[in-house]
């Protein structure tokens, strides 16, 4: 090979153009550089980079669209409300979402207090049964000066006065909500609390479109409170601040049971859900970005290494490394632009799919309505991101090449030992990262470490698992002994080791990326299956004669049972006895479960609180509570200690009668759990009954009770089977967006693996040619490719399943942070089977795709390709 040859197969024209451009101008040089690179071989790699960047950026765009459509609107509520009146402050109860209406009188008139009742809820049109999630707000027209100009006087008050009379609570709907429900003035509606309501007015006000996408119902404050089953209670009091330290004034007025804050329009349940979602999306975005860079960079690694001689040659011609570097950057940017062209449409479609999953499942029943929107700035931002990732992907491998002198590059010998074999200490380090991640999950889940470390734990675990896989997977294969008797197995092992030996790092990354997808699928499904087991656990306490009545499983609205309805149920001839069950949320991510401790029905909760808590349940009485272990650790207390919780009569010290691991999930449990006797809970927190445990007479079925209930109201009747089914369905639906992201990652991983396999095969052409000359037949070549696919599948499943099981187990350890329970880990066999099948299919397709071109393979060119 002579020095003036850029590549052996380049034409004179290529050399002339490059050489001439070197002497003329920078831009001409850049164009020539790209032209020479792309002219012959590199279009395949270019296509692979474009696809890699495109798919990775599309995932990022989808995650950002999801964030913009779900999290951002609620973040923006704060600003919207606040921008209308910068002095506006809202007082909210620290006990549940409701506070006594008489609290309004405690505030001085100088604060100009405005009472508000409401929240997010499902609204049902009684006639058609159509159902739409809405923000239901009850107030008077004084709220307008706080929330903004929506012509309250003109639209609401006047309409309410002039509107036709109806039965129940009058409400005004926005035109958008009325249209979605298909109702007009005078039509009847059903609200969560089961109270009668009717449409007294339809508001046409675009101003309100900015709140919950315009799905709003407004009414008189106490009327709306009744609709939620909380008569004589308020969900907030808005203040127009007179100045001074209003937080301190409010704290002094309410003794710690209410707090002043900036208005945010979000309920207590929605805040942690959105926080988790935001962190989850940030994590998903980071993983997607890492995938994009990896896919691009691993292709560029091949290109940069193969261009080693080319770089050296051009350097010897007198070109500076700086300009060579700029050339690579320009190439990365160009590929990034093409990647953006792929990413934008794919990302928009992916984002729409993810939002569909969230709106259809996660937010179903919350009353939150989302509009699908793709802001222009996101598209521009992602296009820029794709270009940036392309530049990064191009530059990183070149930096490693530039560490060599031109002479070293020209003398470069491809047959080098895989460095990963000597990286044992790094493997240990990455394994320790994984262990550290699980340790942090346990620490956060047990309450010993702050909640936020859970998210860091995920990053640590994923980074560690990828590192271990990259280093160990090729090492495992290269160390495999070759059988000395079985010829086929011997050949298969030889081929796999030979193929892998050509690009061990890339093989390691290929296995890592696929195993990461498998891990996510196995781990998240493991968590889901484990949580679903708790539903069975909860339902098992119901027997043939015990039923559970209350709101639908998974309904997060904190509406209480109508006392009249409870009296009606108690009076049913099929009912032997009823026992109330209740739960509410306290500030600081604390959930109170309340049950009668002294009756046989208490086993409903005792089944859920194991260990010492069960033994001490009988001790529950005045001033005593049981704590989940997570709560006890978080507060640093044990049995016999006291904790201070806000109550309606101010802060109150309570004795810890027991500490237990909660094995049974609730609908809305989150974080720290306090179990109290229901009588005490009513006194301390004004807790309302949210469910009834009903003991029926023999031969009574759930359907009998359901039929005996009044038509109005939305009370669900569950026996063991229906409760298990409903609970598992709710979990599956709630989890489907998370699993959706997992599937998306697996799909990206699959595309990446396919790209890698095809590229690897391209790199193997010389080796394949040599084998053909030695007499390797077509079936043997096919066998070699299948052996490669089988080995990659085996490694991906081995590392992926192991990692996934540890990941899922770690997540169950962290369960109390997100689900209030720490369920025993259940192995998701079906997910392992599905993941194995997908990994096998991906590897098989990756191995078989190039077979079509195998017969056209140019052995002679490959043999002579240096």
């Amino acid at each position: 090979m002579t020095l003036i040859e850029v590549r052996p197969h380049r034409t004179e024209g290529d050399r002339d153009q490059l050489g001439g451009a070197l002497r003329r101008s920078r831009w001409a040089w850049l164009v020539a550089w790209q032209w020479v690179h792309w002219r012959h071989l590199d279009w395949r790699r270019g296509l692979a980079v474009v696809l890699g960047l495109g798919v990775g950026t599309a995932a990022i765009l989808a995650v950002l669209i999801l964030h913009d459509s779900i999290v951002a609107p609620f973040e923006a509520l704060d600003g919207r409300i606040h921008s209308v009146n910068p002095d506006a402050v809202v007082v909210r109860s620290r006990i549940g979402n409701w506070m006594p209406a008489e609290d309004l009188r405690l505030l001085p008139e100088s604060f100009q207090p405005v009472p508000v009742a409401g929240g997010f809820a499902d609204v049902v049109a009684e006639g058609s049964g159509s159902q739409v999630g809405a923000l239901v707000i009850g107030s008077d027209c004084r709220v307008e000066r706080l929330l903004g100009d929506f012509d309250c006087e003109g639209n609401l008050k006047a309409n309410l006065e002039d509107a036709p009379a109806g039965v129940g609570v009058p409400v005004a709907l926005t035109a958008r909500l009325a249209g979605a429900l298909g109702v007009g003035e005078g039509d009847r509606l059903v609200f969560p609390g089961g109270q009668d309501a009717f449409v007294q007015a339809v508001l046409d006000d675009s101003r309100l479109d900015q709140v919950n996408s315009g799905y709003l119902a407004v009414g008189e404050v106490m009327g709306v409170a009744e609709l939620f089953g909380h008569p004589d209670e308020l969900s907030a009091i808005y203040l127009s601040s007179p100045g001074g330290d209003i937080e301190a004034d409010v704290a002094a007025t309410f003794g710690g049971r209410a707090e002043a804050m900036r208005p945010n329009g979000r309920s207590r349940y929605l805040v942690p859900a959105l926080e988790n979602l935001r962190r989850f999306l940030v994590l998903g975005g980071m993983v997607a970005a890492a995938l994009a860079v990896f896919l691009g960079a691993s292709v560029f690694v091949t290109a940069a290494v193969e261009r080693r001689r080319q770089i050296a040659t051009v350097e010897l011609l007198g070109e500076s490394r700086r300009r060579l570097f700029v050339g690579f950057m320009a190439e990365g940017a160009m590929l990034g632009v093409a990647g953006a062209a792929v990413a934008l449409p794919v990302g928009v479609v992916l984002g729409r799919w993810l939002i569909g999953l969230f709106t259809a499942n996660l937010l179903d029943g919350t009353g939150v309505h989302l509009d699908y929107q793709v802001p222009y700035r996101l598209l521009v931002g992602c296009a820029v991101l794709a270009v940036g990732l392309g530049v990064v992907a191009a530059v990183v491998p070149v930096l490693s090449v530039f560490r060599q002198s031109p002479a070293e590059m020209l003398a470069h010998n491809r047959t080098r030992e895989y460095a990963g074999l000597a990286k044992g200490s790094w493997s240990v380090l990455f394994a320790l990262l994984c262990a550290g991640g699980v340790g942090l999950m346990y620490g956060a889940g047990s309450g010993r470490l702050p909640e936020v470390v859970v998210y860091g734990a995920h990053v640590l675990f994923i980074a560690g698992a990828i590192g271990v896989t990259v280093l160990l997977a090729p090492r495992l294969v290269l160390r495999l002994p070759r059988p000395t008797r079985g010829r086929r197995l011997h050949l298969a092992t030889s081929f796999v080791q030979t193929d892998l030996g050509l690009a061990p790092w890339r093989t390691g990354f290929t296995v890592a990326i696929l195993s990461a997808g498998v891990s996510l699928l196995v781990g998240l499904n493991g968590l889901l299956v484990s949580l679903q087991a708790t539903v069975e656990h909860r339902a098992v306490v119901l027997d043939d004669r015990l039923l559970l009545l209350g709101r639908a499983v998974g309904d997060p609205t904190e509406h209480a049972l109508d006392p009249d309805l409870v009296a009606h149920i108690e009076g049913l001839p099929q009912v032997e006895a009823v026992s109330p069950l209740a739960e509410t949320a306290l500030a600081g991510k604390t959930t109170v479960f309340a049950y009668p401790a002294e009756t046989h029905r208490s086993r409903f909760v005792l089944t859920g609180t194991g260990g010492e808590a069960a033994g001490q349940a009988a001790a529950l009485g005045a001033g005593k509570v049981l704590l989940s272990r997570f709560a006890a650790n978080s507060w640093g207390v044990g049995v016999g200690d006291t904790i201070t919780l806000p109550t309606r009569a101010g802060s109150r010290q309570l004795e810890v009668a027991g500490v237990g691991d909660l094995l049974m999930g609730s609908d809305n449990g989150y974080g720290k759990v306090v179990v109290a006797d229901i009588g005490i809970a009513r006194d301390l927190w004004g807790i309302r009954d949210t469910s009834l445990l009903v003991a029926t007479k023999p031969a009574t079925h759930a359907a009998d009770i359901a039929q005996a209930l009044p038509a109005r109201g939305r009370v669900h009747v569950y026996d063991r089977q229906t409760m298990t089914e409903a609970g598992q369905l709710h979990l599956r639906r709630g989890f489907s967006p998370v699993l959706g992201v997992g599937w998306m990652m697996l799909a990206i991983a699959a595309i990446g693996v396919l790209l890698m396999l095809v590229l690897t095969l391209w790199d193997r052409r010389r080796q394949r040619a040599a084998l053909r000359q030695l007499g390797m037949s077509y079936p043997q070549e096919l066998w070699a490719l299948l052996a490669d696919a089988a080995m990659l599948t085996f490694l991906a499943v081995l590392f992926g399943t192991t990692g996934g099981l540890i990941y899922g187990w770690g997540n169950t350890l962290a369960g109390p942070v997100l689900f209030s329970i720490s369920p025993p880990f259940t192995i998701p066999w079906h997910a392992i089977a599905v993941a194995t099948a997908i990994a096998a299919a991906v590897c098989l397709i990756g191995a078989l795709l190039p077979i079509a071109s195998t017969r056209r393979f140019d052995t002679l060119n490959a043999l002579n390709d240096d």
């Binding site: 491809r414 047959t415 059988p483 030889s494 080791q497 010389r766 084998l771 043997q780 043999l863």
Partner: protein, 227 residues
């Protein structure tokens, strides 16, 4: 009767609108046990001659027979068996499989041909020892010098006792001393095993190692003198 007979073989390559004659009406024979050296400058058609002889590159005119059988009249499967049993190859860039040890590289053609791996290994060790690499059985190609790598490649080419070894610039990647060693080794093996060798090179010094010298220029066979 020659082992390898090329009769009126022509082969052209197209480069854009330009057609280049790589081989023009070439006729030659290689008899069993003969060491034939083909020399010529770059682009003279040496490698094409080798590939055509190996049944890898079908000529546009003429015939190639091995032991009286037309190579290009055979099925692809039969040609494959021919390469497995009767032909051995030595390349300028060795083309050894990097992750396999020297002995595993040498044993590979035998395993591909159906020999049990442990038997193939024994056979490969015998050949490697004969070539002076008894202390390099377990070494990977990256751990061997260029000359040693080429000796492993030669061992791989003869381990299955072929009747014809085709060598394409086997000294092109070696220094003169190592190159001379490789040529001497091929010459010895040719005599010792009775295997014919067709070697193409631009190195004029190789001529002295062969039984016969053939020169190629621009696809034309210029001479067929016995050395």
């Amino acid at each position: 009767m020659g082992l390898l007979c090329l009769d009126g073989v022509s082969k052209t390559y197209a480069s854009g609108s330009l057609r280049v004659g790589a081989l023009v009406d070439v006729s030659m024979q290689v008899v069993p046990g003969e060491f034939v050296v083909v020399t010529g400058p770059s682009g003279s058609g040496k490698s094409t001659l080798l590939h055509v002889a190996a049944g890898l590159d079908r000529p546009e005119a003429g015939s190639v027979t091995l032991d009286g059988t037309d190579v290009y009249a055979m099925s692809e499967r039969r040609r494959l068996q021919l390469r497995r049993k009767d032909l051995g190859f030595v390349h300028q860039f060795f083309n050894l499989l990097a992750p396999l040890s020297a002995v595993e590289n040498v044993a590979l053609p035998l395993v591909l041909a159906g020999v049990r791996p442990d038997d193939a290994r024994v056979e490969a060790e015998v050949v490697l020892a004969r070539l002076g690499l008894a202390d390099r059985f377990g070494h990977k190609p990256a751990e061997l010098s260029g000359g040693q790598q080429q000796r492993v490649a030669i061992a791989r080419a003869v381990v299955h006792r072929p009747r014809l070894v085709l060598a394409d610039e086997p000294t092109g990647n070696l220094d003169s001393k190592a190159g001379a060693g490789v040529l001497a080794l091929l010459s010895e093996l040719s005599e010792e095993l009775g295997v014919a060798v067709l070697l193409v090179t631009h190195d004029a010094s190789a001529v002295s190692f062969g039984d016969r010298h053939v020169a190629l220029t621009d696809g034309y066979l210029l001479s067929g003198a016995r050395v």
